[in-house]
Assembly symmetry: C2
């Protein structure tokens, strides 16, 4: 099924260009573009400006910073092919990063990149500045390797500025720029591989719906001796709501939660079972650092991560959190909840179920508030599409070994992008590793894997040009 592809020219060009790659990426990683924190929104803008400058200096003919919508600044670039038959490919990534707390657990400051042991440590190194940066390198290598003045595909790049906040304005952004973004294939570069030494191509991502539940009781913190035992305690009541989120089998109790879940096929479950997954090593390793697995009864760990929806508490707060004891009945308490969704769950329907669940679990004397933080639908890649097949061929060539298929548990706006752009096929090209600690302290990326990813991308543009007829949607 996989065609043998020679990418020795691309590899040689990337090796030649490598010395300039890291200093450049490192520069970018110094910008704390945390989209979830309004205090860092100027940094998100600075990060967009940095990327636009880098693209221009690489010679991309069209480079724009999009700040004409409510979205935080996004960067758009296009390098048209001079081949009238060339397909158009949109690469999607993002330049904003996760918050950094708990800061004390970082071995190096998150925005002072450090290289050690072949790894680049910084917030955003893997998720997702490293991935976006590899495409700049890949484009230079592609042009140099093919000797073309323009790429073999019309390549478009969209680097979003608020993916880590749930891409709340991505649909608006896509609609405002529908013409610029039209394409035959979307290549998402914001995912990972199954393991070091096990190159794989992602075939789908879970979606997410997130909301904060706040329970308010009394108007002021009350003395727990004077009032405790006779008035509702919002922290206790909130804990009861959280405890009721799952039944004893780990099934989520939000009304209608499983209604739209597409069950994986037996073939898919068998394919997952053949992946070289060492659960004990995974548990003990730096990735999880966990002591036990848990989850929905009747499903394997990989299935729980890839094809089953979940409910998680991302944060809890309320009452006194300082040193020592303070014997109060707190005024309020909150839980930040997020739900990982699988095809064909719909975030809005899940949030409606959560609203009903909260109403059903709000006791007398408590006022509940639900703040919806935005949702992202799940997505799937169609392996029968020639564009997706080309990604598999390019990855196989870059790694020199069979490429397996996995899914991602994480969510991005891929499904929205796909829907807004008219159902364009979706492919994933990512080189993150499970132990890259994205969203956690000491995030890192393997520098070698960034080069492998750049080789695959550079090769992919050539392959897609060669297979233009199969890949173009409108012949």
């Amino acid at each position: 099924m996989t065609e043998h592809v020679d990418l020795s020219r691309e590899r040689a060009e990337i090796a030649a260009l490598a010395s300039g790659f890291l200093p450049r990426l490192t520069d970018w990683l110094r910008i704390p573009s945390i989209s979830a924190d309004p205090a860092h929104h100027e940094d998100v803008a600075a990060s967009a400006g940095w990327l636009a400058g880098a693209l221009r200096s690489d010679g991309w003919p069209v480079v724009q910073v999009w700040d004409d919508t409510e979205a935080l600044p996004a960067v758009y670039a296009c390098w048209p092919s001079d081949d009238p038959d060339a397909p158009t490919v949109l690469v999607y990534g993002h330049h904003d990063v996760q918050p950094v707390d708990p800061l004390a657990e970082w071995l190096h400051p998150p925005f002072e990149p450090v290289v050690a042991g072949g790894q680049l440590f910084a917030r955003g190194a893997c998720d997702d500045k490293g991935h976006v940066a590899l495409h700049l390198l890949a484009m230079r290598a592609h042009l140099a390797a093919t000797g073309r003045p323009t790429p073999a595909v019309t390549l478009k790049l969209l680097a979003e500025g608020e993916e880590e906040s749930g891409s709340p304005h991505i649909a608006e952004l896509l609609r405002a720029h529908a013409d610029e973004l039209s394409c035959d294939l979307i290549v998402v570069s914001d995912t990972g591989m199954f393991a070091e030494g096990v190159p794989s191509v992602c075939t789908g991502m879970r979606g997410v719906a997130a909301a904060q539940v706040t329970f308010r009781g009394q108007r002021v913190d009350l003395h727990s001796g004077q009032f405790g035992g006779a008035v509702p305690n919002p922290a206790t009541e909130l804990a009861r709501l959280v405890a009721a989120l799952h039944d004893g089998d780990g099934r989520v109790q939000v009304p209608g939660f499983y209604d739209d879940v597409r069950e994986p096929t037996d073939a898919e479950r068998e394919a997952f079972a053949t992946l070289p997954f060492d659960q004990d090593a995974w548990l003990a390793g730096p990735a999880a650092g966990a002591r036990a697995t848990t989850g929905e009864y009747g499903w394997s760990t990989l299935e729980r991560l890839w094809v089953r929806p979940t409910a998680e508490v991302n944060g809890l707060g309320g009452g006194y959190q300082g040193p020592g004891a303070k014997t109060i009945v707190p005024t309020d308490a909150f839980a930040k909840l997020s739900f990982r969704l699988v095809p064909d769950q719909v975030p809005d329907k899940i949030i409606a179920g959560v609203r009903q669940f909260v109403a059903e679990h709000t006791p007398g004397g408590i006022e509940a508030e639900l703040d919806v933080e935005g949702g992202v639908p799940p997505c799937l890649s169609d392996l029968s599409h020639p564009g997706v097949a080309a990604v598999v061929d390019a990855m196989t060539a870059a790694f020199g070994q069979e490429v397996l298929f996995s899914r991602e548990g994480g969510a991005g706006p891929e499904a929205i992008i796909q829907a807004e752009l008219g159902g364009v096929p979706l492919a994933f090209l990512g080189v993150g590793l499970p132990d890259d600690r994205i969203h956690a302290p000491n995030e890192k990326v393997s520098i070698d894997l960034l080069y492998k990813g750049a080789e695959a991308a550079a090769c992919l543009w050539r392959l897609l040009g060669e297979r233009a007829e199969q890949v173009r949607r409108t012949p």
Copy 2:
């Protein structure tokens, strides 16, 4: 039963001294003596120094700051009577205060006292600097009213410096100073009355046991997409533990929790039922600002507050609490728990039960830690004791109306003090109101009630001198 007592002389002296009282108390209230926060321990020392200075300037012959134990500085003063038959009375109060968060809810800064509408607003105004200060005023009035060079009782004052932290070193302090503290009667001034216009004498206080439960899961915050649904979430698990603290009838599920509870007598329950308690007004009023009552099935609100033990969550924390969403599986989560205890529950036994409860509710993959924050046993006042009867007479005289009996839901170290001093009888003289918002933002005290309290105290020393033979333990 109540003897008519004339305190017109004491009242006149207090009126004459009143102009100097508030400026002095206000000075003291400016010192943020928050014992729970190590950053304020110097302020606790400054507060002790301030009180010692005030006592000396009032002419108390013995004034000492006790900082010779692990306890935060306590203030001890003694004014011996020149009457060899005089009984010895120990007044207990404290000069440390509760933390002030949430600071944003204070209408005036907590340590910038403001007088408005006959109320004095500041952290500690009621709990407990106002109460300690009324005894300085009362002593001056007592001497002036009786024309005595020394008081009619040998009066000792102990103002502790860490009551709001659960008095962790009170036993050590009492043992180190057992000789100085010997007495015939303990008068606690750290409680309140049933309501404005309903003067009452407290006959008992609930105790407390407090501990923080921390659940630790993975070593780092994990991406909830990459790991969620397959590894334990400490926040979810902690919520389950908290939810399991009570059954459907509101009964605490800690093993052995009710073993030592002394059930109230039918007579006591009837007496509570006759108190003019307007539950709707109490709920809606500034005290609770609550929307509903709740609690243990089968007991009235006052019973739930006074004679039934409770389990409360004072604070919850864990994971991401900042703005927006952060989709992580947090490393850990904690709950600050406190348990209000009634006679004859023993804090150490309750904590042992909590330890067992936590162990039974710690799932695989989670490591539990229990930090015990200190405990205080419950206590009861013996209404048949002549010293306690004298307090009732003095309060009746000060308020000019019948004094009722209530209990306090709150805890102090009274039971420990009583036990360490050899079972000395315990009486309560306090003028706080349920809406004084102790432990909450905008704490205040009624200035008139402080004067009433001072009248009662000044009168009490005279009465106890007159009834010396009945009050002295060793004739």
